[in-house]
């Protein structure tokens, strides 16, 4: 979709903003360019719409060298959102949003009705249409900025630190809504930020730049956290990357044991007989009520007579991540995390040690919904894929795809995976999904320093994607890049 071929940008004063960058961004994907200031990420972004012309190399969009298109014309087909929104102060909100349609000669009436639709899409009331930018809050202005960028429904959006000038709460809202919007729109987005947390939250893929305009790593967020290519990347993603990557591991795959769970109507003698220091009291529907310390139990009666310590919090097997599970374990008085099913009934418990073992396994592809499925990923654990019906295809596909090389991933993968995965539940879209997330990663083989070290590329099942972002747009990412 967007392809950088050996692109460099040097300035006459001798500084190199971007150094021999080769990168291919998948259609319909959200790629985040992240790095310290002066790393060339914004320069890279601006080379896509010719705000900056490369000194060497070519940038192409859907297979066409962007220099073949006149700059203003090219730009009208590429949405652009910047840090301080950059709204035109002398135009009403509606006319701001109508800017590109007007430039394209749609006519005032059509352009404005399109603008009104877009305001609604970004969650702004129609009453704002007639206002001027100075009458809006920073967060509202930024929404207008996004609406304006979507004006003529461009397939590509460039976003240069769009959310960094608003306060953290508004930023969180904007990010969440932006993800929702992207799920609907499937734009090909290039997003620049200096904030690694934002990058991990939003990106399908992340390109980490180092000072001097060199690409340090291009990978999926979970891969970036699990396998930083070098010390620079490891340092940049931060000390707590171990914890953060748990967000990508689904709780549903964690091993739970029965644990000391008793109905609240059970006699205290039963609790003592379990031989555990804490007992979890549950109601008739197995919903957790609280922990009872066995040492403090009354001499007789039932658990209902005991003083129950609060649960801390539980984690839902469907929906929560391993991060929530681990947090639940840390906060629980008994040090046991309580997993609940969709009805809120206790499914089982696990302590932090058990969770961490499972999580470590997850990166090697043992658990059912781990963030990496390939066997022998170089993770250090070397645990082969096993007993994981719904990720097995991912693992197998991955090994195959990595060996086969880039271009045909999207198509080849499911076929390769299918025979090896007889256990895959019917209706489960595992092969397609695994292929989908693996494909774009393959696209940049030359730029990925982690490659030789980890030939079998783990496939990832992003929590974000699971929520419904469709595979089709992604699958064409590499092979279909030219369409």
């Amino acid at each position: 979709m967007i392809r950088f071929d050996a692109v460099s940008k040097n300035y006459p004063n001798g500084t190199t903003a971007v150094d021999a960058l080769s990168l291919e961004l998948a259609e319909g994907g959200l790629t985040v360019l992240v790095g310290p200031s002066g790393c060339g990420k914004t320069t890279t972004l601006r080379m896509v719409n010719r705000m900056v012309e490369p000194s060497a190399g070519t940038v192409s969009l859907r297979g066409q060298d962007i220099r073949e298109v006149a700059a203003p014309e090219l730009r009208r087909g590429i949405g652009y959102v910047i840090q301080h929104a950059g709204l035109f102060p002398h135009r009403t909100i509606l006319d701001n949003v109508a800017t590109v349609p007007l430039l394209l000669g749609w006519g005032k009436k059509k352009a404005r009705s399109r603008a009104a639709e877009l305001l609604e899409l970004v969650g702004l009331p129609a009453t704002m249409a007639k206002r001027y930018p100075y009458q809006l809050s920073g967060g509202q202005q930024q929404r207008v900025g996004v609406a304006r960028a979507l004006g003529a429904d461009p397939p590509v959006l460039l976003m240069d630190e769009p959310f960094s000038a608003v306060d953290p709460i508004v930023r969180g809202e904007l990010q969440a809504e932006f993800l929702r919007l992207q799920k609907e729109l499937h734009k090909t987005i290039v997003f620049v930020t200096h904030d690694i947390d934002e990058a991990i939250k939003l990106g399908d893929h992340i390109a980490v730049f180092r000072t001097g305009g060199k690409l340090a790593q291009f990978d999926t967020p979970e891969r970036l956290l699990a396998h930083p290519a070098d010390d620079f990347v490891a340092d940049f993603v931060g000390q707590d990357r171990g914890i953060r990557r748990l967000s990508f591991v689904q709780a549903s795959g964690l091993p739970l044991r029965e644990g000391p769970v008793l109905p609240v109507t059970a006699p205290v003698a039963d609790a003592r007989s379990l031989g555990e220091p804490w007992v979890l009291a549950v109601d008739a529907a197995r919903r957790p009520l609280g922990w009872a310390a066995v040492a403090d139990l009354p001499p007789g009666g039932t658990l209902a007579d005991a003083t129950l310590a609060p649960l801390g919090h539980t984690f839902a097997l469907a929906g929560d991540s391993a991060r929530a599970a681990l947090d639940a374990a840390l906060l629980s008085p008994s040090r046991l995390a309580v997993g609940v099913d969709a009805q809120g009934a206790v499914a089982g418990v696990a302590d932090a040690y058990e969770l961490s073992a499972a999580i470590a396994g997850a990166s090697a592809g043992v658990t059912t919904t781990g963030d990496a499925a390939g066997a022998g990923t170089g993770d250090g654990t070397g645990v082969p894929t096993s007993g994981a019906p719904d990720t097995t295809p991912g693992g197998v596909q991955d090994g195959t795809a990595a060996g086969a090389g880039a271009p045909a991933d999207g198509e080849a993968a499911p076929e390769a995976a299918a025979p090896a995965a007889p256990a895959a539940p019917a209706g489960q879209a595992a092969p397609a999904e695994a292929a989908e997330s693996a494909a774009p990663a393959e696209a940049v083989a030359p730029a990925d320093p982690a490659d030789p070290a980890a030939p079998a590329r783990p496939a990832a099942k992003l929590t974000k994607r699971d929520a419904g972002e469709g595979g089709p747009a992604e699958q064409g990412g590499v092979g279909g890049g030219e369409r």
Binding site: F88, H90, T99, V100, L103, Y134
Partner: protein
């Protein structure tokens, strides 16, 4: 002043209403047309100075040097070419406006926030359209602030043109001095001040109507 002569003889004003109106019209023309011409010169020059920063210092110096030439000297120079006409008054007044208007056009263009300019470029405005549809409109409040200063100073300067017989209401000032008769002097002075004030007020009003979007910021004066 003669003994017993009052500062104002209202009867004189009543007798000269028609003539006063005529000279007020002439005065306005002599004062405001130079501002218009000044604007026509300053906008492109200011745009040039904004685009090529190195042009700005010499241009501004030149405008300031022009402003420092006494009006009397300029009138005498232009009289040789344009005679004792209104043009001889308006050309120097036009030149005087430049030292106010050029910097205001440059500042006005500089007041366009960088993100706005970048956004305009990124939206696909060509350079010409960007300047005409985005940058100049945003520069309007700052330019109008300059126009207000230029208009007020130009209106009060017109009276000096009476030295070559083209001073609008300045006519009454020299007449009053010659006749040692204060009424026309005071009347003309008050009228000139009123003209300046009303013009200024109208410019403020025009700016409000023209740039409703700038109301929140409080237009710079």
């Amino acid at each position: 002043m003669r003994d017993g002569e009052p500062l104002i003889r209202w009867v004189w004003i009543g007798d000269h209403v028609g003539e006063l109106a005529h000279y007020t019209g002439v005065h306005l023309r002599l004062g405001l047309l130079p501002v218009l011409f000044g604007l026509i010169i300053s906008v492109p020059l200011g745009m040039l100075c904004h685009r090529y920063r190195w042009v700005y210092p010499p241009t501004l110096t030149a405008a300031n040097v022009l402003y420092s030439i006494p009006s009397l000297a300029l009138f005498m120079i232009f009289v040789r070419y344009t005679g004792l006409t209104e043009r001889t008054v308006m050309i120097p007044l036009t030149l005087y406006t430049l030292s106010v208007l050029i910097p205001n056009v440059v500042d006005g263009l500089a007041s366009v926030p960088d993100p706005v300019r970048q956004a305009a470029t990124a939206m696909g405005f060509s350079t010409v359209r960007r300047v005409l549809q985005v940058e100049l409109p945003i520069a309007v409040p700052v330019v109008v602030a300059g126009v207000r200063v230029a208009a007020v100073s130009s209106i009060s300067l017109v009276a000096v043109g009476q030295l070559i017989g083209q001073g609008g209401l300045g006519y009454y000032i020299t007449r009053g001095l010659q006749l040692d008769f204060p009424t026309p002097i005071i009347t003309a002075t008050v009228l000139i001040m009123l003209l300046a004030l009303v013009t200024d007020a109208l410019l403020v009003l025009a700016q409000r109507l023209l740039t409703p979007w700038a109301r929140g910021k409080g237009a710079k004066a």
